[in-house]
């Protein structure tokens, strides 16, 4: 009996990737060699099991609302950069007041979260080692937007009109549009903070990020459902408050986790 074929050759034999002559030679050996035959049979059994795995698995969560939200509101980068432009002068003023003293955070591609199409393509290594200053800034930003959202809705009428121009000055944006812009910016900022937390995973108590992510998923599901409902009734302040409450929960969770990172 000739020498055992190398492992690579046995795999290629099983995969049918050898030339005709080589294939025949290995086949002759395998017929005569118990060890190689057992190896080939085991490999064939494994590859058959792999090929027979179901090609489709249904996600447990309905992902479509989140996809719709992102399609409607554009990519994270676009949302962040355009959010200010879509705010009313009043909302911009609130926002400026809210972040007074805090350094501006330039729009950053965010990673690690839904909404991050551009995240990966534009992400670079520098972001992995961004200093904690950015973390603190992101936290401040979230606080600021929490305040802005609250202000926006406390000054809103009970049921703001939706149709363009209805009840608004010409050129003014409806509260619903303002809210969407704020919601998008809030969401992007939350994602940035989460990305920061992820980059500091080693400094967090073990399991912290898993808990944060699990809770964020639950909150995001609620957010998606509320956003979906606002699509059919964008002027309902109760839905907007629901979204605001979800953002507040998210903010609180991220703030607590950020505090753990700073403490550790």
């Amino acid at each position: 009996m000739n020498a055992h074929p190398p492992e690579t050759q046995l795999h290629d034999y099983v995969d049918g990737l050898l030339g005709e002559t080589e294939q025949r030679a290995v086949e002759r050996h395998v017929r005569a060699c118990d060890a190689c035959r057992a190896e080939v049979e085991a490999l064939r059994a494994l590859t058959a099991r792999l090929a027979a795995l179901p090609r489709a698995i249904a996600p447990e969560t309905d992902l479509l609302p989140g996809i719709h939200a992102r399609i409607r509101w554009g990519s994270v980068d676009a949302r962040v950069s355009s959010a200010d432009a879509t705010l009313s002068p009043a909302a911009q003023q609130h926002r400026r007041a809210g972040v007074a003293g805090a350094p501006e955070v330039p729009p950053q591609p965010v990673r690690g979260i839904p909404g991050g199409r551009a995240l990966s393509s534009r992400f670079d290594a520098r972001q992995l080692v961004r200093p904690r200053r950015s973390l603190a800034t992101a936290a401040l930003l979230l606080v600021a937007f929490g305040a802005v959202l609250a202000l926006l809705f406390t000054r809103e009428p009970a049921r703001p009109p939706i149709a363009a121009g209805a009840g608004h000055e010409p050129g003014a944006l409806s509260p619903a549009v303002e809210f969407r812009a704020l919601d998008a910016r809030y969401t992007a900022a939350a994602r940035e903070l989460l990305a920061e937390l992820e980059s500091l995973e080693d400094e967090l108590p073990p399991g912290t990020l898993d808990i944060v992510r699990e809770n964020l998923r639950a909150i995001d599901r609620a957010l998606d459902e509320a956003r979906l409902a606002t699509a059919s009734d964008p002027g309902d302040p109760r839905l907007a408050r629901l979204i605001l409450a979800a953002h507040e929960k998210k903010l609180d969770l991220l703030r607590r986790a950020a505090a753990l990172s700073v403490e550790s």
Binding site: H11, A51, P54, R55, S75, R111, S120, F123
Partner: protein, 189 residues
């Protein structure tokens, strides 16, 4: 709608069948309802790919969303030179690989992936435990070996194409594949 990759069994291009071709055309014109139907037809395939490639449910959900948002954004570039399903799955693979390259830190540690996927795999009547064992073992593979194994042994892409997707030499694909199979056998024994 069952679609096969890399060579879509449905035969025709553009979308595999007249309905799909029509949905693609409408979605290209901005019809979100048509896109929803394409999503419904393909989401399970895309999610399965994302789940097996990432080994984590939450990551797979995010990647699936990323893939469909990317598909919506790039749909106008789809010229029907391949079946829509093939185009979409290839796009999803690019999303997964870009994401992995962007942040290798998010990759599950060797000993965590299996449990996460197992927890993520819905309990279904009639699903043999052997299948779950295999899924868990795949999820527990080192990321590179897992990617090669999923793309070649599960999804059926040729080794040359897997090498191109991953940006590595074909010898590297073979080495990772053999390593993955060996590890799987050890885990399953």
């Amino acid at each position: 709608m069952e679609l096969r990759i890399p060579d879509d069994a449905s035969g025709s291009r553009t979308g595999g069948d007249p309905d799909t071709a029509d949905l693609v055309r409408r979605a290209q014109q901005g019809d979100l309802a048509a896109f929803d139907r394409l999503y419904a037809a393909h989401v399970d395939r895309v999610y399965a790919l994302c789940l097996r490639m990432s080994g984590q449910r939450e990551q797979a959900e995010r990647l699936t969303q990323d893939a469909f948002v990317r598909a919506w954004e790039k749909l106008r570039l789809f010229r029907g030179e391949s079946a829509f399903g093939s185009w979409l799955y290839r796009l999803a693979i690019n999303v997964i690989l870009e994401d992995r390259r962007a942040d290798r830190r998010r990759t599950a540690p060797l000993d965590e992936g299996g449990d996460r996927l197992l927890a993520a795999t819905p309990a279904r009547t009639g699903v043999p435990d052997l299948r779950l064992d295999l899924e868990r073992a795949i999820a527990a593979l080192p990321p590179r070996a897992r990617a090669v194994l999923v793309l070649y042994d599960v999804e059926g892409y040729p080794q040359e194409e897997v090498a191109r997707m991953l940006g590595v030499a074909i010898g590297t694909v073979k080495a990772q594949l053999h390593r993955a199979r060996k590890l799987l056998r050890e885990m399953l024994e």
